[in-house]
């Protein structure tokens, strides 16, 4: 019955196909998948552990032995950068998933119920949105204290208002369309109207913004760690590595360059994938 689903723009199969045929998306996807795999395999591939001190290699510039050089206590930066990848990337994904889920639920309720419920939810979210995003994340992280899950919480909460607003707008568009009226007239219960007709049609534009949101959340996580509110040393999160390294930026720039480079590449990869998903879902937006 669903044999032709892949032909339909907007279906997951179609998006998957599109990604496979988009070179830039494949570069991004390969980078992300590759670095994630490496990140989990570091203990088995490299002879140095990410916490292994080696005072003789202190401040070592990149060599064959240490391709990215070593830090102030002689830890291998390449091992640390690769090991740390899973933190930044997973924080980005979990924060977006959590924040996205909350946002979608709140936005859907606000959009579908309307009236007082809508006003209450949206004014509540306005309060959150009135702070600059990173300031809000810092405030939340400062209250909660540092830690992996707390960073996810901070970055996730920051994203909720944006997703909720977008979901609400989508719901409003879909709710007014005639196929919703048709669904009511053929006798769908309200729950069926929402689950079967409203949500599927309102959700697909969200996929793009969620894909883009992962990059933002990852970046926010690194920023928090840089500022000392996130994942704390010695866990080699990229932001906190940058934070330590910045003291030596003039004498030993390689300590800053590699974590910074990987933050940039990761954000870029997420954006490339996000761009391709957007193009696949909405051909009108393509440049």
């Amino acid at each position: 019955m669903k044999s032709r689903a892949s032909d339909k723009p907007g279906s997951l199969a179609y998006v998957g196909k599109y990604l496979l045929h988009s070179p830039s998306a494949m570069v991004g996807l390969c980078f992300l998948v590759g670095i994630m795999i490496l990140s989990f395999l570091t203990p088995f591939i490299f002879k140095y552990g990410f916490r292994e001190l080696n005072i003789r290699a202190q401040y070592s510039t990149p060599t064959l032995e240490h391709p990215f050089g070593c830090d102030e206590v002689g830890r291998d930066i390449m091992v640390r950068v690769l090991y740390g990848a899973k933190y930044t990337i997973s924080i980005g994904i979990f924060a977006t998933a959590g924040g996205g889920l909350m946002g979608v639920i709140l936005g859907a309720i606000a959009g579908y119920r309307g009236g007082l419920v809508d006003s209450f939810i949206m004014r509540f979210l306005d309060v959150f949105q009135s702070f600059p995003a990173i300031l809000l994340a810092i405030a939340i992280a400062a209250v909660l204290g540092p830690g992996y899950w707390k960073v996810i919480l901070a970055c996730g909460i920051t994203g909720i208002p944006g997703y909720a607003r977008m979901m609400r707008a989508n719901i409003l568009t879909v709710r007014g369309s005639e196929y919703i009226e048709a669904a009511k007239s053929i006798g769908c219960k309200e729950s069926r109207v929402v689950v079967k007709h409203v949500i599927p049609n309102a959700f697909s534009p969200m996929i793009v913004s969620l894909a883009m949101g992962v990059a933002n959340a990852g970046l926010a996580a690194s920023s928090l760690s840089f500022l000392g509110f996130g994942v704390v040393p010695p866990t080699p999160e990229w932001g906190s590595m940058l934070s330590t390294a910045r003291t030596y930026i003039l004498e030993h720039p390689h300590m800053v360059i590699f974590p910074g480079l990987f933050i940039m590449l990761t954000v870029l990869s997420f954006n490339l994938v996000g761009d391709a998903i957007r193009d696949a879902l909405d051909p009108k937006l393509r440049d």
Binding site: M1, S3, R4, D7, K8, P9, G10, S177, E178, Y179, E181, A182, A183, K184, S185, I186, G187, C188, R192, H197, P200, N201
Partner: protein
């Protein structure tokens, strides 16, 4: 013929920030079984709102609805579910009336499944019968709406509407979004289905040639109020309300020897937000007097089944 739907003093108001929109204001009519009532009027006059209010897609503000003699003005959930099986609607825009994420087959199956009258293979079979009946080819069963042209999409909308064998179908401008050649196909389909299933239609449109073709009775609306109702043939022969006259004079004539003089209305449509009492048409009417601006305008019977809402109808038409 027995009356199927009786509408008495129906009102539908929408509160807005700038006042109350009187979308449907004190409309009464009767539709008999097996009949097609055409509902004509210009855009924004409340035709679609009236149609939707009659089948409980919108709840009426005031007035009474009788369906097969039963009062259906206020229904609880269970009664509404029963009522839904007897009344259906076909929408204007086949592009937006089908869920873009459901195949044609799924769209047609959904009401059958919800009715719980069919199961499994029987469900599939019934859906295929329906699609066959409305003329959707087998190869389109599993297509998504965006893969079909307007005519086939509208056929899917028709199949969905008749799937539960309703008594009464509101056709909300079902052909105005289609090509003229396809319009004819859909109209013929609707008429065939009417014969086969003994359907009663309320046919909302602004296309006078379509309404003349399909309906047995016509109701003319202006700004939420009914101005004239009459059997089709009679209405096209002789109009009594100044608005109906102006409306019908706008039909282009192909008879070059007896060119009909077009009545041009002056002024703009007045706002339906908190309208002044009296006849809604009075500000644009050539014959309006102070009498027309008084509340509670009468509905005058000028012939068999021919009613006009105009207090000066007899003077104007020398009756």
């Amino acid at each position: 013929m027995a009356a199927l739907l009786e509408v008495e003093h129906l009102k539908k108001y929408f509160p807005t920030g700038r006042g109350t929109v009187h979308a449907v204001d004190d409309v009464s009519f009767t539709i008999n079984e097996g009949e097609t009532m055409g509902l004509v009027g210009e855009s924004g006059c409340g035709k679609s709102t009236l149609g939707r209010t009659c089948i409980h897609l919108l709840e009426s503000t005031e007035g009474k609805l009788l369906f097969q003699g039963e009062d259906v003005t206020h229904l609880n959930k269970k009664q509404l579910a029963e009522f839904r099986k007897k009344v259906q609607i076909i929408f204007q825009d086949p592009f937006s009336s089908l869920n873009p994420r459901m195949t044609i087959r799924d769209t047609v199956i959904e009401p059958l499944m919800l009715s719980r009258q069919f199961e499994g293979a029987q469900l599939e079979k019934e859906a295929e019968n329906l699609m066959d009946l409305v003329g959707i080819e087998r190869r389109f069963y599993n297509s998504y709406p965006h893969e079909l042209d307007g005519g086939r999409r509208q056929r899917a909308g028709v199949a969905r509407a008749i799937s539960l064998k309703p008594k009464f179908v509101v056709c909300d401008e079902p052909v105005s979004a289609l090509d003229v050649s396809i319009q004819a196909q859909i109209l013929n389909l609707l008429m065939d289905l009417q014969d086969e299933f003994h359907l009663t239609y309320m046919f909302v449109t602004h296309d006078l040639s379509v309404v003349r073709h399909i309906s047995s009775k016509i109701c003319v609306m202006y700004l939420g109020q009914m101005v004239e109702v009459a059997p089709t043939k009679e209405l096209f022969d002789k109009q009594y309300h100044p608005y109906t006259k102006a409306l019908l004079s706008a039909i282009p004539s192909i008879d070059i020897h007896h060119q009909q003089k077009r009545i041009m209305l002056k002024g703009e449509i007045t706002s339906p937000i908190n309208p002044k009492p009296g006849c809604r048409f009075a500000p644009r009417c050539l014959y309006a007097t102070d009498e027309c601006r008084k509340p509670d305008q009468p509905l005058v019977e000028v012939g068999p089944d021919h009613f006009v809402s105009c207090c000066r109808v007899k003077e104007i038409n020398n009756l």
